[in-house]
């Protein structure tokens, strides 16, 4: 593994019986990069991500995350990554403070460090007045920003974001991406899946998955040149070969459930 690469996948494959969800994908992600992982629902994004974060065993191929092998060292991988899922995932019946303390705690932050980080995080997000309120009472956009900050709490090398901005308004999405940029500036690698094509434009490089394969991988600019179109949306449509006459257009609010 080159020093610069924090994720390396080589012919990574996952099959469920006869069905090949992820078909021999290969790619690298560099340190500090914002890597967009695009694809329609059912294209295999979530399955691929699950192999990288150590909760699903690959069927074939090789992959290393933060320098650790996904087969033999998933525990070491887990200590070095952050993860935020497409379903908002903090505890609604815990307060802002309790959530931060709990998640910091399971990553083994010391009490002193935890207190420091908690104060810092609350003031950065401007949550001072509501830090003792239950998370369930916050608007969705705030919850998602909080969830992202919590996933960064233990200073991970890479953060995996699985459709982090599903269901929020454009302004909150904008804020969310500002937070992503800030984290990337501080050297955290961002691996993000999305189906909002405007978000794809914000990424340093994107890969587009179609039916389990990576069909394109480059910077948004080069991809647009290559396909001779003006937007990532058109790149995506060309590759994904939709709209298909029999299938409704992928709206994408559903869970990627392969």
């Amino acid at each position: 593994m080159k020093e610069e690469n924090v994720i390396e996948a080589d012919q990574l494959t996952k099959t469920f019986g006869e069905f090949t969800a992820v078909n021999a994908i290969s790619f690298e992600v560099k340190k500090g990069e914002i890597f967009g992982f695009l694809g329609a629902n059912g294209a295999g994004k979530t399955t691929a991500m699950k192999m990288l974060i150590g909760i699903s065993k690959p069927s074939a191929g090789k992959a290393a995350v933060a320098g650790f092998d996904v087969y033999s060292q998933p525990e070491s991988i887990k200590k070095n990554i952050g993860y935020m899922s497409q379903r908002f995932a903090l505890y609604d019946d815990l307060t802002v403070k309790e959530n931060i303390t709990f998640f910091g705690g399971i990553y083994g932050l010391s009490r002193k460090k935890l207190r420091e980080k908690r104060e810092q995080l609350i003031s950065e997000l401007g949550l001072e007045n509501i830090s003792n309120k239950l998370v369930g009472s916050l608007p969705l956009g705030w919850k998602q920003k909080l969830a992202f900050s919590v996933s960064l709490l233990h200073g991970p090398k890479i953060v995996f974001l699985d459709e982090p901005t599903g269901g929020v308004d454009p302004i909150t999405r904008r804020h969310f991406w500002e937070m992503i940029y800030k984290a990337a500036d501080q050297g955290t690698t961002i691996f993000v899946t999305t189906h909002y094509m405007d978000e794809a434009e914000y990424c340093d490089r994107v890969s587009i998955m179609v039916e389990g394969k990576i069909e394109a991988l480059d910077t948004p600019k080069k991809l647009k040149e290559q396909f001779k179109v003006d937007s990532m949306n058109d790149v995506f449509l060309k590759l994904a070969r939709i709209p298909s006459p029999t299938l409704p257009k992928g709206k994408g609010e559903n869970t990627d459930c392969n």
């Binding site: 909760i55 065993k57 070491s76 497409q86 379903r87 990553y107 200073g155």
Partner: protein, 387 residues
């Protein structure tokens, strides 16, 4: 590649401390969930007390102050004595004196009385002259168990009366049955219900509540976050289960205390053994709860499986209400796979008969075996999901 966090956990002592802290944090969070959810609180603390009081006071097989009516065609010395004897007992109250046969039907239909005693004409004379007199006992059998008990009680009173009468006359031979009800001499039904209710509550709290709380994390997506964290899957499960062990032990103690102090139920055997066996059954139920949570994807499914798959068999087949021995053979065989059946045998033995481990080791081993089986099956199911 050097890692910040890996450096920190290099010393084993530090690692142990770190693990303990993480674990305590996890349990704290679990208690927040429980105490902030009114529904869980009710199931945890309201239900046991409500159930034990309900079964103790309201639901009973005993007969007490049953209203009866008398139709006395003779109105002589003997019938008077018998009526006095019956109404003096705490079991019966003479509510109505009937005068005609046709009144019997009406009296039953009004529903105020449960039995009618019909003395034949010339009762005393027949008794002395012909050595034989008859009383008709008519009972309302819409409730067969009660009707049976009433008949038995009246028969017993009549027997007793007859013996008193015969004492003065020399009889050549006589069989005098001496019955003695052991372990529950007063035939209190609460003694029968306490072990059953305790079993149901422990099952409910341990199996249903844990399966719901684990599936809730799956439903909310937080389970995924926990699995991506450095916590190992078994640590997550243990963290979720430990609070319920505590709560179940508290519940079991409350039930035992209630039955001792309110219903005067004796605990003949060792309290320590009772505690140990209860903890074993709690763990069996938790293992079942974990197994359910590996099958169910939603809280609702977990609740349905727990209620239909656990509660119903416990109530119907464990011998809690219906004796296993009088069930049809296929049901008797099925009842063997219900952990609650074995636990009820154990606690009845300890509480009522005062037996020790020497008498319940077989049942204990069966429960241990079942627990190991459930845990093994859960691990296997869980692994398949991860693959």
């Amino acid at each position: 590649m050097q890692l910040k966090i890996n450096d920190e956990i290099s010393s084993p002592l530090w690692e142990l401390e770190w693990k303990m802290k993480r674990f305590i944090g996890f349990i704290k969070k679990e208690f927040y969930h429980i105490f902030r959810d009114r529904r869980s609180l009710f199931i945890l603390f309201g239900m046991p007390i409500a159930q034990i009081l309900l079964f103790g006071f309201a639901i009973t097989n005993e007969i007490n102050n049953v209203n009866i009516a008398i139709l006395d065609h003779s109105k002589d010395a003997s019938t008077g004595e018998i009526i006095n004897k019956i109404s003096a007992s705490k079991y019966f109250t003479v509510k109505q004196i009937l005068t005609r046969e046709t009144d019997i039907e009406t009296a039953f239909k009004k529903g105020k009385i449960k039995a009618v005693l019909n003395f034949e004409k010339d009762f005393s004379r027949n008794l002395i002259a012909e050595k034989r007199a008859t009383i008709q006992i008519i009972t309302d059998a819409t409730d067969p168990n009660t009707a049976n008990s009433i008949t038995n009680y009246i028969n017993a009173i009549l027997q007793n009366y007859q013996q008193e009468k015969n004492r003065t006359i020399a009889v050549e031979y006589q069989i005098v049955p001496q019955t003695r009800m052991v372990y529950n001499p007063e035939l209190k039904s609460v003694f029968m219900f306490v072990p059953g209710v305790m079993t149901i509550i422990l099952m409910l709290v341990s199996a249903m509540m844990t399966s719901i709380s684990i599936t809730r994390e799956k439903e909310l997506g937080t389970m995924e976050i926990l699995l991506v964290s450095p916590l190992k899957p078994f640590q997550v499960i243990i963290g979720k289960v430990v609070p319920y062990i505590f709560l179940s032990i508290i519940n079991a103690s409350v039930i035992v205390l209630l039955s001792i102090f309110i219903f005067k139920m004796p605990v003949q055997g060792s309290l320590f053994l009772l505690g140990l066996e209860s903890v074993l059954f709690i763990i069996t139920s938790l293992a079942l709860g974990i197994l359910i949570s590996t099958i169910a994807e939603t809280q609702q499914a977990a609740m349905m499986i727990s209620l239909m798959g656990l509660m119903l068999p416990v109530i119907l087949l464990s011998g809690f209400i219906f004796p296993v021995a009088s069930m049809p053979v296929p049901l008797q065989i099925i009842s063997n796979i219900i952990p609650a059946k074995w636990f009820i045998i154990i606690i009845k033995g300890i509480m009522l008969k005062g037996v020790g481990m020497a008498y319940v080791w077989k049942e204990t081993l069966i429960l241990i075996g079942m627990t190991i089986f459930f845990i093994g099956l859960s691990i296997k199911k869980y692994k398949i999901r991860l693959e």
